[in-house]
């Protein structure tokens, strides 16, 4: 078979434009007569709000200030529609959008932001997901703080631990992480020659964006175009919609091109984070190191909004057993609302956090049993035909053993371990 691509070095199509500085990101787009937009964001994590834009509107050069009143349908979200385009009654995190100022220059928009009066009637917040699970804690959304619960039940967990020679039980925590993609969010909107609302933006999902913008504006999807520019890194952080609806609303109402550029600071408070997780793991093995049981509770802090919390905590639950065969498994994985920054997709989607727990469990088990950390993995790891905790049969290539052998060889593991003693 002749292969044109596999095994060959190909020049990427955008390489030339990127090394010459010609590649256009949204901030590089200038349109004659365009206005600028800036977003007013909540400074409190949990509060009822009243907004007064009258003074700001009087500033010369301010064209319009948009609030929830201007949005035909004020809710959005990648899975659950629990975000508001602009908060109406309540803010749930620092950074929640409250208003969008459109003016003749960025500077006048900044002045206007300072002149908008937001009266915050502060509410008690909840910032620890463990506390948030308590029924008596403040509720971030009316539906309650436990947004999602994923379960695995396999085999007989009691038997598994009863037959175990060594059992290790530990709690692991990971922190929230920002994608910090190098190109802060930016976008430009205009009406195209066919009269359609057009948004040029760096996004991971132009099709979802179109759906959400159309829904928020209560317009048919064919009236909306999302044009993806070059994307200056995303890593999951551009999956949730950010400024697309604001831009669409502005151009739809004002019929003039509008541009928005977030500063690095605004970018940090505007978009999602990697879920911080608390992982309680109990793992048991027999004398030879063969895994017999695992019980895990994972609590993921999804912050003020669901975003991909369901999917991330499901994936975390599926993968908490690691790449190992365990006959008896109980997993409870929760996504919990708090008043922290909202968490969503980021490289690995929940699979990145759990190895912190399952791999340290393996090391500690090995130590308890007087085994070396490679051997305990070798005897438990998945191969072709293995059945995972969710019952999935791995029918295709599972070259894990080969991989670990190469690593051991490459890092001269046993020699080094000998030396370390």
């Amino acid at each position: 078979m002749r292969l044109d691509v596999v095994g060959k070095n190909l020049i990427r199509v955008d390489a030339y434009s990127k090394v010459t500085g010609k590649a256009l990101y949204p901030q590089d787009i200038y349109i004659d007569g365009m206005a600028y937009g800036k977003t007013l964001r909540s400074e409190k994590p949990h509060a009822y709000i009243k907004v007064d834009t009258r003074e700001a509107e009087k500033l010369e050069g301010i064209i319009k200030i948009f609030t929830y009143k201007d949005v035909p349908k004020n809710s959005h979200g990648v899975v659950f529609k629990d975000h508001e385009v602009f908060c109406e009654k309540k803010v749930r995190r620092i950074g929640d959008p409250i208003a969008f100022v459109v003016g003749e220059s960025e500077r006048v928009c900044e002045l206007a932001l300072k002149k908008i009066v937001v009266h915050y009637d502060e509410l008690e917040g909840v910032f620890d997901p463990l506390l948030a699970m308590d029924e008596n804690s403040p509720k971030v959304h009316e539906s309650g703080n436990i947004m999602y619960h994923y379960k695995i039940r396999k085999g007989n967990i009691k038997e598994g631990f009863k037959n175990s020679h060594a059992i290790v039980e530990n709690t692991y925590k990971t922190h929230m992480v920002d994608h910090a993609f190098l190109q802060p969010e930016a976008g430009v909107s205009f009406i195209d020659d066919k009269g359609r609302i057009t948004i040029m933006v760096a996004t991971q999902y132009p099709h979802y964006d179109r759906e959400e913008v159309a829904a928020n504006l209560n317009l048919p999807q064919d009236q909306i175009r999302i044009i993806n520019t070059n994307v200056g890194g995303a890593f999951g952080g551009r999956e949730d919609i950010s400024l697309q609806t604001h831009l669409a609303l502005a151009v739809y109402t004002l019929k003039i091109p509008v541009k928005v550029i977030y500063s690095r600071e605004e970018s940090f408070i505007a978009h999602s984070k990697r879920h911080s997780m608390i992982m309680k793991c109990k793992t048991g093995a027999d004398k030879d190191g063969k895994l017999l049981a695992m019980k895990a509770v994972i609590i993921g802090d999804t912050g003020a909004y669901a975003s991909w919390g369901t999917n991330v905590l499901r994936k975390a639950g599926v993968h908490i057993t690691g790449p190992y065969y365990i006959p008896n498994v109980v997993v409870d994985s929760y996504a919990v609302y708090t008043n922290n920054p909202f968490a969503g997709a980021m490289r690995g989607f929940g699979v990145t956090q759990v190895p912190i727990a399952h791999e340290q469990q393996m090391d500690i088990l090995a130590e308890e049993l007087g085994m070396d950390p490679v051997s305990i993995r070798m005897i438990n790891m998945f191969g072709k035909g293995s059945v995972t905790a969710t019952g999935q049969v791995l029918t295709e290539s599972v070259p894990l053993e080969e991989c670990l052998e190469k690593v051991v060889e490459g890092m001269d593991f046993y020699h080094r371990e000998e030396e370390a003693k």
Partner: protein, 158 residues
Amino acid sequence: MKDIKLNVNGKDYTLNVDENIKLLGLLRDELGLTGAKEGCGEGECGACTVIMDGETVNSCLVMAFQADGSNILTIEGLEQNGELHPIQQAFIDVGAVQCGYCTPGMIMSVKALLDKNTNPTREEIREGISGNLCRCTGYNKIVDAAELSIKYLEEGRR
């Protein structure tokens, strides 16, 4: 407003600039040279790197009026008569480009390094680009590209 004169990519400009703008804003908003990017606005990321009088600077930290009388080289000034600069070619050939937002700044840092030191070690290259962040974490390829540039530049000198 303040009158300034400067040379950018070999071209002389006489401009009347706002006191409050930065060199980066001048290049992008006034001269339409959008190759230099703003990533952080405070000199941490290096996406706005340009060469000013022979040395790299974060153009987000230089006030536009300070550039009066200076010579500026931006990414747009590297390609000559339709031919890419050897460093640009090396970035393409090695595959040192991912999202591309750091690329112009990276290339300017590599250029300034190779202007001063024609044969740097890998470690020196790493140091030379230490003021430029690549969030796609493509550093190894970027260092490879800098090494390949050394070869291309040598061949060009012969």
